[in-house]
Symmetry: C2
Subunit: 355 residues, 2 copies
């Protein structure tokens, strides 16, 4: 196969072009407010240049699964998901105090650097935070606009709106659960699973699939089938992300090694480790997890605990089982060959061992 799953139907290229076109129009709007808005538009364009376009791909194939052909309007509507995701990531990096995203300084760090370079007065960090909060807000607003002006028919948009709304509330609720879990500390498998479900599984896979199906007027039977495929793949995707966050190659993840451990993210991987940790291993977890000054050596010790407790292997096993369950559901759904083929490939891409 010469194209990757995300490139089928030239989707990645087309989504990127649609985002650029949307931003270009909006940049003109910002320029009317003042030339000072230039850096805001630039930062956004730069940020949106990255990204795997995974959510648009699920939305696109959710639509195609109804048997309808794709269109540029559909690509634009699906592309709007990247702007929701941009808001989530930009705000997430502020909340976590993460300095790096997609191999570049996080947005708040970029504006902090602008403050320093221009020798502005007051706190550079506070300026960076403020700019990133506003930039995230702008992404959320422009996402809406991009969906709305995608060129999809009014009745299609009306069907899609409730899903769009649910999805956006769910992701913010999931993020809050995640922040709360970090603050509450401890390791609960049940809680970790719920965070994964809302923060990622529904939002990354199931809701985009539903959005696409709703745009095409797909019925409840299709929606259910897509859930049976989408929820396990979404969960597997997040578990893979958690594994890569600890064991991944920084050159591939775009984040420094061990960042998730430094932030003290309460992942299922860690909940599994805590369940089977010896007292000595527990001490390692307690001492190092969430330590902002965690060294490479500390990262290595935590990794050892994750391997030795079997947590890594259990997580990998769960990813395999979830993926298998999703593919069974997909087969049972009896979609057309092209959609089945595309969704099978997407399942692989979403859960692959490389970022």
């Amino acid at each position: 196969m010469s194209v990757t799953p995300l490139d089928r139907d030239d989707l990645r290229t087309r989504v990127s072009a649609a985002l650029r076109a949307h931003l270009h129009r909006r940049r003109g709007r910002l320029a009317l407010v003042g030339p000072e808005l230039g850096p805001v538009a630039d930062a956004l364009a730069d940020f949106l240049d990255g990204g795997k376009r995974l959510r648009p791909a699920f939305a696109y194939w959710g639509y195609r699964a109804t048997g309808n052909p794709g269109s540029d309007a559909l690509v634009r509507a699906a592309g709007a998901l990247e702007l929701v995701q941009a808001c989530a990531l930009i705000h997430d990096d502020v909340m976590d105090g993460s300095d790096t995203r997609r191999g570049k300084p996080a947005v708040h760090k970029q504006f902090e650097a602008l403050h320093l370079a221009e020798k502005y007065t007051g706190s550079a960090a506070r300026f960076g935070t403020a700019a990133a909060i506003l930039l995230g807000d702008v992404c959320l607003i422009w996402a809406d606009e991009m969906l709305d002006r995608s060129g999809m028919p009014a009745d299609a948009l009306e069907r899609a709106r409730p899903i769009w709304d649910e999805m956006r509330t769910e992701i913010m609720a999931g993020q809050y659960l995640d922040v709360l879990a970090q603050a509450q500390g401890g390791h609960s498998v049940d809680r970790a699973v719920r965070v994964v479900r809302y923060k990622a599984a529904k939002y990354t896979v199931e809701r985009p699939l539903h959005l696409g199906a709703a745009l095409a007027g797909g019925g409840p039977e299709l929606t259910d089938s897509l859930s049976r495929y989408g929820l396990p793949i979404g969960e597997a995707f997040q578990l893979r992300d958690d594994v890569l966050g600890v064991f991944g190659d920084p050159a591939e993840t775009g984040k420094p090694a061990g960042d998730d451990l430094r932030e003290g993210k309460r992942t299922l991987l860690l909940a599994y480790a805590a369940e089977r940790a010896t007292p000595a291993q527990e001490t390692v977890l307690d001492r190092h997890l969430g330590d902002p000054g965690l060294t490479d050596d500390g990262v290595d010790r935590l990794r050892e605990v994750l391997v030795e407790t079997g947590a890594l292997e259990r997580t990998e096993e769960r990813i395999r089982a979830l993926t298998a369950r999703a593919l069974d559901a997909l087969a049972a759904a009896r979609l057309d060959a092209e959609s089945t083929d595309a969704l099978t490939a997407l399942a692989g891409a979403a859960t692959a061992r490389k970022a």
Copy 2:
């Protein structure tokens, strides 16, 4: 007159009821995600309990100005503006590090207090900030939903959408200009006027009026008339807000005296003062403005400079002139007697010397 301008047609009561009903439905949605979301829903309900409902009132009367009668659907659509405003204020307080809003702890301070009370781990301030960022995002999302599900006809919503979108981009752009102005320091009358225009004038008055008019299908002539009335009133509203921020009674403004001065807000009031300051007065401005540890004594000295340079009187004069210009434009618009009467009264309410 027994009713205040904001209470005509029972508007304040009805907007508050519409917001409560919307939040109640959404609270049910959050509960499905988990009981941990309770504090989020509570904080939001509490926050939205306050507010003068100024923006909904302008939207409502923008609609009524077309000669069409009001409705509950209209009240819901107009009420959505309060949720946009809630997002702006909650995020603004994080960006400015303001501890108080509407006489109560700011949202980020409330969640910081929750963190301390529950003895969570990690930084309480960081937790408060994260929760407030997410809560603001939720407001922005629910605003959309409230407009969309207001019950206004689909064609009305389609006409209103572009204005809704422009307005939301403008407010974020205006906020960025404001943050940037604070960081750049200095006192430019031109820049202060531009911040006022985007951050407040268009967003608080003109755009709500346009939104209402568009929902009713008002033509370009009405839209222009509403701008000629709305832009000066919006500017006057912000200037009044700036004056109250420095000279207002904390019991009325809901903010500690001198908070705006401590934050170093670059208002027109201060730009006027800088224009006519003696070297000694300039020193007072430079020394005290934006000083987080500003004492009551420092606040008094800054107030003296604002009075002695004539900045306060110039600002009051500008508020008077803008209000007069708006009322002239309103008279020239020849709307029906009831709308003219209501908009005249609203002009007074928006620029009154009491908060």
